[in-house]
Symmetry: C2
Subunit: 435 residues, 2 copies
Amino acid sequence: MTSESARRVPAPDNENGDIAALMHGLGQGARAAARRVGTASAEQRNRALAAMATSLRERAPAILAANRQDLADARAAGLAPSFIDRLALDEARLEAIAQAVADIAALPDPVGKVLASWTQPNGLVFERVATPLGVVAVIFESRPNVTADAGALCLKSGNVAILRAGSDSFRSSSEIAAAMQDGLAAAGLPREAIQLVPSRDRAAVGAILKGLDGNIDVVVPRGGKSLVARVQQEARVPVFAHLDGNNHVYVHGEADLAMAHAILINAKLRRTGVCGAAETLLVDEACAATHLKPLVTALLDEGCAVRGDEATLAVDPRVTTANEDDWHTEYLDRIIAVKVVPGLDAAIAHVETYGSHHTDAIVTANEAAATRFLAEVDSAIVLHNASTQFADGGEFGFGAEIGIATGRMHARGPVGVEQLCSFKYRVHGQGQVRP
Amino acid sequence: MTSESARRVPAPDNENGDIAALMHGLGQGARAAARRVGTASAEQRNRALAAMATSLRERAPAILAANRQDLADARAAGLAPSFIDRLALDEARLEAIAQAVADIAALPDPVGKVLASWTQPNGLVFERVATPLGVVAVIFESRPNVTADAGALCLKSGNVAILRAGSDSFRSSSEIAAAMQDGLAAAGLPREAIQLVPSRDRAAVGAILKGLDGNIDVVVPRGGKSLVARVQQEARVPVFAHLDGNNHVYVHGEADLAMAHAILINAKLRRTGVCGAAETLLVDEACAATHLKPLVTALLDEGCAVRGDEATLAVDPRVTTANEDDWHTEYLDRIIAVKVVPGLDAAIAHVETYGSHHTDAIVTANEAAATRFLAEVDSAIVLHNASTQFADGGEFGFGAEIGIATGRMHARGPVGVEQLCSFKYRVHGQGQVRP
């Protein structure tokens, strides 16, 4: 790490002085920048994104040096290996970050897209047109790449970003943010369009959740459950988030066993730590005699612990007893809860009672059963004959996502650039007045 | 009023006992009903709406008797004539209320509408489908028709409603709510799908704004500015509302005078008390020599007071001086503020500085100027060569609206049945797993 970049990074004890004044200034800067970014052309925003990717590549030595300092502190503090892994950058990871920014530039422009248009009998032409939301605050923890991903997604959608990094990734995030701001400046856009809170003071989070005097339009928490819970509890502004991904795979009575096996193993075990991972398997009693044992055995043989109801306990001695808590639990681990249900109604009722309205799947050859499951399960994403691990903006074709939301307001499911937009109505007349 | 219906109406001193327990129960009832209504067919919801219209007609004597009691109390309390007029029902107004409910039944069904669909290279078929929002709380003041309008719009969109009437319209609203519930029951839907808070206790509003323990998804205030301000200030749940309609008509340098005259007079004076009424006229200095005097004279001759800048003061002795407050003011009266601006940029800057992001219009024959105004004015509704009084869900072709929103989250502009919906993703596979 060069001494120059070290000097740019504020100290953790907040050399910036009063945090309230600092945050107020960030909010005002963001709002002023929002108007310029919101009316900038797609070409100018894309030029900034391309310059950001270039700057991230050029600044790689400084970013990696800052990351080595963050890592040294994290190791000295005895943080967990999984945390260290999320924090760590290397040449390859940094190149992936830069390429992701370049890829976001290449997405279709969401701003100004005509979402609907129609003509009334009086000749007025109405258009509903996508517009930016305004100022998006992103609060994240260990992954420094969020600085680049979130900043780029906000700019692509005509928004400005206020980013609050976890204190353990603060140096890395600060260097990445500097690269992003250079990209903005290179395209003639205000550096305030992507601001990283230049302080580790935890009071910054509280200020953001209060909305910075009306200068934040939405908050996106990116991190563990305790962060999301705090944001959902305290925020006085809208939040795009999910607290849990307690997702279900329901193997219906008319499910093909081979398909159910492939989907279940993928949904549970492809990656156990992602929010789209399955946490509970429901097997219909109509196929339990043929399907339950092979599915449970396959899970166990893959090293997945199985916590089951009585019927499941009976098929393999390695199964342990599931209690009420298990149906509520997002394990994010090689553990699954398994239950036999007496039919479609019971399966839907179980998902609605215990689920988190994130992502749930039915496996069946019966179209009518699939239609009912997809209609009546009130989750952001419902799938028929596909793995729950497709719960991802990239897999949806959104290019990238800033997170997944389980709220019902504005955004739901993967939040890509389209969901980071609001809309307005343009009305074109020839002198019409209202009678 | 019959003694029977009198007995159904709770007393103002809250014979229901603890208001907190009462409101908690309403919230739980609403959430339970939301699942049944949300999965009911369009046919069943429309059948309920038709039965509501019938019930409103059949119960007309009881509703009008209750209204006479409300009116007698309002007159005894010395309430303003404008308030009395909003409160008053007669045979014709009640028939219009019933017909409005029947008309809502005839609207296209918004629930289950496929908003977008696409296929990914792996064969997965994605659909974004409209779903109900859940529980909508509506807080209103004097107009008892809101009970029917809001209840019907919520049911049409698969939502349930918790309605809080102003205490002065409480008896009228209670009778209308009873008719709506009879319609629900006639179609086999739960009466809890439309609940009027059975108490005049003002603590009910506070409980609603706190969200009834997670059982309210959005609040819609319908009433004066003080109500809206309180709701926006205190609500812990999303709000669809507008505080102000400080709307502008900008007469550009290339505006046709006759068109500008017709639009201005209509925008300001067709009805002065609606939120789409114009409150400020901006005249471009490029046409001020020819357009300012005739426009100002026309306003004055129609009995509209004009508060102007120096240039406006010079054209007619009846003009009085506008001060800084005037540019901020939503008069809702026969008063207008008038200013000459040095061009399009200044006009946009004025609207952005003083406006309320509700509805703003440009009059011009210059398409490029119109395009810039429509793009850069950050209002829910922007019009070219048309009156601002088109700011209305009916005029948009939405059939009806529950209100007009100036927020940027989820709904913006007139909030019709489509904006009362959320969405989910349905994913159709043939056994796909994620690599």
